[in-house]
């Protein structure tokens, strides 16, 4: 209970910090993905003339929103949490604080902000008749839970390693970009040549994107098997992350 209220306090602090000193405040959490979306939409729709194959396929913009927005939440949370221990080294050196909370806070705060933005843009798209299924929105929100667990597990892992290997966060930025293009965010599975389509399953994020597409656009396939896989990824990530974190936890202060 105590741990819970402490976590709540840190999440609140984190949310506070994100808008403190900036004019746009919380709006930035919404503006940033929106801008990114506008750029990608322009490049892919106007320049590359991207199109989703198949009859009755969704328009490219809702197709992109549904994949890109959760990805931004995911990668943003991981990147911010990775340096969490380093950023709070002054606190870690003075107070016996449960360290996983320091990683949890930026991760959870990032997810909350981006989820709020996601809901807003989905409602806007739905109301302007872009083919978003309103009844799918609650399920899509539920899908954020395993995605959060996945991200939190990864964040625990990277935050612990970052203490020892300081250039991890730079490498991680590159790796996340790679992972983004290796997941069907900007394209559909059916855009790929047949022999490459199976490779997509190696990317753990593929399942999440396809789940959102299925739930919100009725596009593609997402069965119980795929759901089970997604949940398994989330649980395994969390278990591995917290094992690694607990293993290194006693030694953080020595290396910070």
């Amino acid at each position: 209970m105590n741990r819970f209220s402490l976590a709540l306090h840190f999440v609140r602090r984190e949310l506070h910090e994100r808008y403190r000193g900036s004019f746009t405040g919380f709006g930035w959490a919404f503006l940033q993905p929106l801008l990114q979306l506008a750029i990608y939409a322009f490049v892919f729709v106007e320049i590359f003339k991207a199109r989703i194959p198949g009859a009755g396929a969704p328009g490219y913009v809702p197709f992109l929103v549904v994949g890109l927005w959760p990805w931004i939440a995911f990668s943003d949370a991981i990147l911010r949490s990775t340096t969490a221990l380093q950023d709070n080294s002054a606190l870690i050196g003075k107070v016996a604080v449960p360290r996983e909370i320091l990683v949890f806070a930026p991760c959870a705060a990032g997810f909350m902000l981006h989820l709020a933005g996601f809901i807003v843009i989905l409602l806007v798209l739905a109301l302007t008749g872009q083919g978003i299924r309103i009844q799918g929105i609650p399920f899509a929100i539920l899908m954020y839970l395993p995605m959060f667990l996945y991200a939190y597990g990864a964040a625990l892992c990277f935050a612990a390693l970052q203490v020892f290997v300081r250039d991890l966060v730079q490498i991680l930025g590159q790796l996340l970009t790679l992972m983004m293009f290796a997941a069907p965010i900007f394209y559909d599975r059916s855009n790929l040549p047949d022999r490459y389509q199976g490779w997509l399953d190696l990317n753990p994020f593929t399942g999440f994107v396809e789940a959102y597409r299925f739930l919100l656009l009725g596009h593609g396939n997402f069965g119980w098997g795929a759901l089970g896989l997604v949940l398994a990824i989330a649980v395994i990530s969390y278990l591995v992350g917290s094992w690694l974190f607990r293993r290194l936890d006693p030694h953080f202060e020595d290396f910070l």
Binding site: A96, F164, R247, L248
Partner: protein, 399 residues
């Protein structure tokens, strides 16, 4: 009252090498693969310590002896390499400066944060807030970011928070050294009240005055090992003596004072010729005796003095002031002895000094000092017990 609050057994700490990135990677590998020992700098060896509820223990020692590391191990900020440290009860710790404040946040936000870390909920924090702000007494700075604070203000705020939390165990690391005189007094007074109310204290300080005033026991750390543990007066006395011996060793390297016109041959405190002087119980008599050599067989003037350990003079008197002539006999060595009967020094650390001057009492030729510890329980203030009596006004009340 005999409940144990802190128990450390065989506590040891080794800091791994962490400067070079290859060292960091190697350590990471070792930790992940099932932890062979990490090589590095051993800062604490086999520390055993038990603190019971209501005790106050000072940890003293030279710089780098491992005092702060020991406190960090006890608070759980650091993890021990060997042994265990268990704390039973709520701990309020003020480690070094800063107390874990976030420099970008205001004092008020940092109070909320410290309260949350201590386990208070929002309403409890809100209740404590006025008291903390009042105790810290830093005015409008409370709403400024902590990065704009002076180091004294940071300590004020940190101490105010601890004071409001009323922990079972209070751990402070060299906190009093930063605050100004009035804040130091406020802190000392608060700690005395806290101890009187059954609080438990672990204190790191270089000020023997504070150590002796606040603590009943002391632990002397030397190169990461316990050099001595016991009654605060015995330990601090031994510690000061060790310092003196070390200084004397340095001084004698270049201190050749042969050929002086006057020099001290022997200086005894209560009959003992070595430093430290024997511990004095409060109210005992103090006898100082000096034998001074004079090359030209001229009678020297001798000045005896007592000062507090920090150098504040308490009393000084010379043979010339009291018009006492030193006896020389036929030899060139003159002898003087003075007795302070039932000396009124209050418990603490002092220096007794002797100066030898020329026959006119103008030029100083030789000086010797001894540390002196006065032991005892007293709640009186100041340095000396002045002769006094309470006067009763008969009749005034019954008129």
């Amino acid at each position: 009252m005999s409940e144990i609050l802190v128990r450390a057994e065989g506590l040891g700490k080794r800091f791994p090498k962490s400067h070079r990135s290859s060292d960091r990677l190697r350590s990471l590998g070792r930790l992940l693969l099932g932890g062979g020992d990490v090589d590095g700098q051993q800062v604490l060896h086999d520390i055993n310590l038990e603190v019971k509820r209501g005790e106050s223990v000072a940890i003293i020692g030279e710089n780098g002896a491992g005092k702060s590391t020991l406190l960090k191990l006890i608070t759980g900020v650091l993890t021990a390499t060997e042994g265990t440290a268990n704390v039973y009860g709520k701990v309020g710790a003020l480690l070094e400066l800063g107390a874990g404040f976030h420099p970008e946040y205001s004092g008020r936000d940092n109070i909320a944060m410290a309260g949350a870390l201590y386990g208070l909920n929002r309403t409890q924090i809100a209740q404590c807030l006025p008291g903390i702000i009042d105790f810290a007494d830093i005015g409008a700075y409370i709403d400024e970011p902590v990065k704009h604070y002076s180091s004294g203000m940071v300590v004020r705020l940190g101490f105010a928070i601890i004071a409001a939390l009323k922990p079972d165990l209070l751990i402070t690391d060299e906190v009093l050294a930063v605050g100004d005189e009035s804040f130091q007094k406020k802190c000392v007074r608060w700690m005395e009240d806290y101890l009187a109310g059954g609080g438990t204290l672990l204190l790191v300080s270089h000020s023997m005055y504070h150590v002796q005033k606040l603590c009943s026991h002391a632990l002397w750390l030397h190169h990461g090992k316990v050099a001595m543990y016991g009654d605060v007066f015995d330990v601090s006395q031994a510690y000061l003596a060790w310092h003196e011996r070390r200084q004397a060793a340095v001084a004698s390297d270049h201190g050749v004072r042969a050929g002086q016109e006057f020099e001290i041959v022997e200086f005894t405190v209560n009959g003992q010729d070595e430093s430290p002087a024997p511990v004095l119980d409060i109210g005992n008599s103090l006898r100082l005796r000096v034998r001074a050599g004079s090359r030209e067989r001229r009678t020297p003037v001798v000045l005896f003095g007592v000062a507090r350990a920090d150098g504040t003079p308490v009393y000084g008197v010379s043979s010339e002031m009291d018009a006492v002539a030193l006896e020389g006999g036929q030899s060139s060595v003159y002898c003087a002895e003075i007795e302070f009967e039932g000396i009124g020094l209050l418990p603490g650390s002092y220096m007794v000094k002797v100066h030898v001057l020329d026959s006119e009492g103008i030029r100083l030729f030789d000086t010797e000092e001894r540390t002196l510890t006065v032991r005892g329980e007293s709640r009186e203030f100041g340095l000396v017990r002045l002769p006094h009596r309470w006067v009763r006004f008969v009749g005034e009340a019954n008129e």
